[in-house]
């Protein structure tokens, strides 16, 4: 019984901390602004013409979405991946001068556990 009370106590503390820490992120979501520190940012400074924005379906779980990074970053032509759970999209940063065709992108996304709903290349997605 003592153990149960301790576990509940520590969990309550943890939730309180997490809820406080998370308030700012939710605010940003409402404003449709992606906070750079809130997403995996392994992209560095990449010119927008070297990026591909992929809208995917099923992107609901951070833990599962790790597969996107694993699958894309295994490739030599990809410089970075940024996952945005709120928008249901990922941005792939290509190495300068390199690209991936739509069919390959669709296969890579399927291997990661998701489906592609739209692909936009370069600066058109801002």
């Amino acid at each position: 019984m003592k153990i149960s009370i301790r576990v509940i106590f520590f969990m309550t503390l943890f939730f309180a901390f997490q809820s406080l820490a998370h308030g700012e992120h939710e605010h940003n979501h409402e404003g449709q602004v992606v906070e750079p520190s809130a997403v995996s940012n392994n992209m560095g400074n990449v010119a927008c013409e070297d990026t591909i924005n992929i809208k995917v379906t099923g992107l609901v779980c951070d833990f599962c979405a790790r597969s996107l990074e694993k699958v894309f970053l295994k490739r030599g032509d990809v410089g970075g991946v940024k996952v945005d759970l709120g928008k249901g999209s990922i941005v792939v940063a290509m190495k300068p001068g390199l690209t991936i065709d739509d069919a390959t992108l669709t296969k890579l996304i399927a291997d990661s556990g998701y489906n592609v709903s739209a692909i936009r290349r370069g600066c058109e997605h801002g």
Binding site: I3, S4, V7, M11, F14, F15, Q18, S19, H22, H25, E26, H29, E35, A38, V39, S40, V56, T57, G58, L59, V60, C61, D62, F63, C64, A65, R66, S67, K70, V71, K74, V83, D84, L85, G86, G88, A110, D111, S112, G113, Y114, N115, S117
Partner: protein
């Protein structure tokens, strides 16, 4: 018994080593370590996914009260995944084949063939989670029973990619056989990056502690 305890200790230690993830099938080339403990049993499952449709790996279980263990090969197959803009649903079939070892009804030290078959379904959004899984066990003279497990969960806040994510969940277990009973386990799931942990206590007083790491 000593071997099982040793194996589980090694896995728990592995949980603190760098790298490793929760689906029974991962991305092509992905490895996953799942170490689970509850009132009934301790288990370890290490699997490798050659494709995004199936995984294969080693599984061991130790059933504490009956003092028997299973060692074998497990295959997990993704039958169907439904991706929607704000949700994902999965349907898996799992099967295991190997040997059981225990004192119940057989001479001490005798290995017996053992197998299990499993159906698992889940559906989740960023806020809600629900799953159902059942498993039929056959271990000749040692154990024959059916177990089913349902889970519901809610995320008290919606985390961004890279945050620590927290879920409040409830697990209902039903097990047939000698220990025929239903138990309720409220627990908390945390995950960050490739690490997932679950901690809870059942209404029967059993501690639930699960670790999943994806490489």
């Amino acid at each position: 018994m000593k071997l099982t305890v040793f194996t589980l200790c090694c896995v728990i230690l592995m949980g603190y080593a760098p790298q490793s993830l929760s689906r029974p099938v991962s991305y092509p080339g992905g490895w996953t370590v799942m170490q689970k403990n509850d009132k009934n049993a301790h288990s370890l499952h290490v699997h490798y996914s050659p494709t995004a449709k199936y995984s294969i790996g080693y599984r061991t279980e130790y059933w504490r009260e009956e003092d028997w263990q299973f060692h074998g090969v497990q295959i997990n197959y993704l039958v169907k995944r439904l991706n929607a803009p704000a949700s994902q649903a999965n349907f898996y079939l799992k099967g295991g084949l190997g040997t059981a070892y225990g004192d119940l009804g057989v001479p001490d030290g005798e290995l017996q063939p053992a197998a299990f078959a499993d159906i698992a379904l889940d559906w989740e959004t960023r806020r809600y989670f629900t799953s159902y899984e059942n498993r039929v066990y056959y271990a000749e003279d040692i154990a024959k029973f059916f177990r089913q497990k349902a889970r519901v969960g809610i995320a008290p806040y919606i985390g961004d990619y890279g945050d620590i994510h927290t879920w409040l969940m409830l697990q209902v277990d039903h097990i047939t056989g000698e220990r025929d009973n239903i138990s309720f386990t409220p627990f908390v799931r945390f995950f960050k990056n490739e690490y997932l942990a679950e901690v809870g206590i059942s209404d029967k007083g059993g501690i639930l502690f699960n670790l999943i790491i994806r490489f």
